[in-house]
Each structure stands twice: as structure tokens, then as C-alpha cells.
């Protein structure tokens, strides 16, 4: 009868790679910056559209079709931003409703 010897434990698991803090892949930005930039762009387009309409009604040398296209682009980007905002709010509310 052999004496009970200790059970050898396998050596503790060593991480195969050194641990790094989570870093951004090259070229990406924080999501907040992306959102703010997009809001700024929508605002710029709205201002441009307003200016184009003002120029047209005060007799400026601008093409009516161009003015209409600018207006529609501004409209569309505003609605897109509104939809994105709605989805974000919805996602936030869903997360809030998660029962721990």
C-alpha cells in the first residue's frame, strides 16, 4: 500500500498573450463623436437649404431645381437623424427594462 501523496495540480493557466486594455482599431472614433459630427452635418445642410431659399426669393442667381434638391436632401437627412435618435431611445429603454 503506497502512502497517499498529494495530487499534483496542473500548473495554473497562464494567459497565452499579454493582456492589453481595450484599444480602438486604427481609424475609428468613440461613438459619441460620430453622433455629434452627424448632428453638425444635418444642421449645416438645414442652414444651406434655408440660405438657398432666401437667395431665390430675393432675386438671387440660383436655379430653382437646385434649391429644391438642397431642400429635399436636408429634409431627408433630418428625418434619418430623427429615426436614429428614436432607435437609440428605444434601445436605452429596453436596456432599462432588463430585470436584474
Amino acid at each position: 500500500m503506497t502512502p497517499i501523496t498529494g495530487i499534483p495540480l496542473s500548473p495554473p493557466v497562464q494567459p497565452s498573450l499579454p493582456v492589453q486594455p481595450a484599444s480602438h482599431p486604427v481609424g475609428a472614433q468613440p461613438f459619441k463623436n460620430v453622433l455629434l459630427e452627424a448632428l453638425g452635418q444635418v444642421n449645416t445642410m438645414q442652414t444651406q437649404a434655408n440660405e438657398a431659399v432666401q437667395q431665390l426669393v430675393t432675386g438671387g442667381d440660383v436655379n430653382p431645381a437646385e434649391v429644391l434638391t438642397t431642400l429635399q436632401k436636408a429634409d431627408m437627412s433630418f428625418r434619418m437623424m430623427l429615426q436614429i435618435r428614436n432607435k437609440l431611445v428605444q434601445a436605452y429603454q429596453e436596456i432599462n427594462n432588463i430585470r436584474i
Binding site: 442667381d61 431645381a65 431642400l71
Partner: protein
């Protein structure tokens, strides 16, 4: 802003003036008038001179039309022998003849037709310009 509508309008006005002169020529086929010497002169046909209207030029070089002047022709009148006519020539080689206007009715009618067709063509262009502007409002959906 000068637009296609203004240019078409200038053409409509010019063609109407042209048609007016043709009507005047046809109405005065046998008219005469007294000139400054007191002699009876036959009516001479009028014709219009078209010219591009530099004041009606768009940014991209489209230019309108205007009637620059209404000229009077100077052709030999039609002579008819009628010694008892009050306006017969009293002396000279054409004694006894009456000078009538020399207006070619066929040519005038053809001119009237051409003016009418040009008028209609410009009307069509105006319709299309109007249509384009209206339809472009559909960009806004």
C-alpha cells in the same frame, strides 16, 4: 432673372408684329397716299427686321429676339392705263397711267403662314418650360 419664358415671350411679340405688317400689306393692296410734294404715291409694302435682343440674355448665352425696325420697300409700282382716273399721271412718259401698289399677295400669305407656325412653335416651347418648372416641384414629393 431672365428665363426661358421671357425669351419665348419676346419671340411671340416679334411674330405678332410681323403678322401685323402682313395684315397691313394685304389690307392696302390698292391704297395710295399723298406724299410731301402733293403727288399721289402708291402704298409700298412694309417688312420687319428681326434682331437678337442683347438685353434679354441669360447667363448661359440664350438670347431673345426683337423687332429692330419696320422698313418700307421701294419697288416699282404697278402701272395701269386709265386716263380718266383722278390720280392718273398728268405728264411724262407714263402719261395716263395710274400707279398701284406692287404687293405680291402670295408671298405675303406665305409669310403670314410662317409667322403663325413660328408663333405656335414658341407657344409649345413656353408650355414645356412651364411644365418643367411645375414638375420640378415634385422633387419635394
Amino acid at each position: 432673372m431672365i428665363s426661358a419664358l421671357d425669351i419665348s415671350t419676346s419671340a411671340l411679340v416679334a411674330q405678332r408684329i410681323r403678322l401685323d405688317t402682313v395684315s397691313s400689306n394685304l389690307a392696302n393692296l390698292t391704297s395710295m397716299s399723298r406724299d410731301e410734294n402733293g403727288k399721289m404715291q402708291p402704298y409700298q409694302a412694309r417688312f420687319v427686321m428681326f434682331q437678337t435682343d442683347e438685353e434679354l440674355e441669360t447667363k448661359h448665352g440664350a438670347v431673345g429676339v426683337k423687332v429692330s425696325s419696320v422698313e418700307t420697300e421701294n419697288v416699282e409700282p404697278n402701272y395701269k392705263y386709265d386716263p380718266n382716273h383722278p390720280y392718273a399721271i398728268k405728264d411724262g412718259p407714263k402719261k395716263g397711267y395710274v400707279a398701284y401698289p406692287n404687293i405680291n399677295m402670295t408671298a405675303e400669305m406665305v409669310d403670314a403662314l410662317v409667322a403663325t407656325r413660328a408663333y405656335e412653335a414658341n407657344l409649345g416651347a413656353m408650355e414645356l418650360s412651364k411644365n418643367m418648372a411645375q414638375q420640378s416641384l415634385r422633387i419635394l414629393g
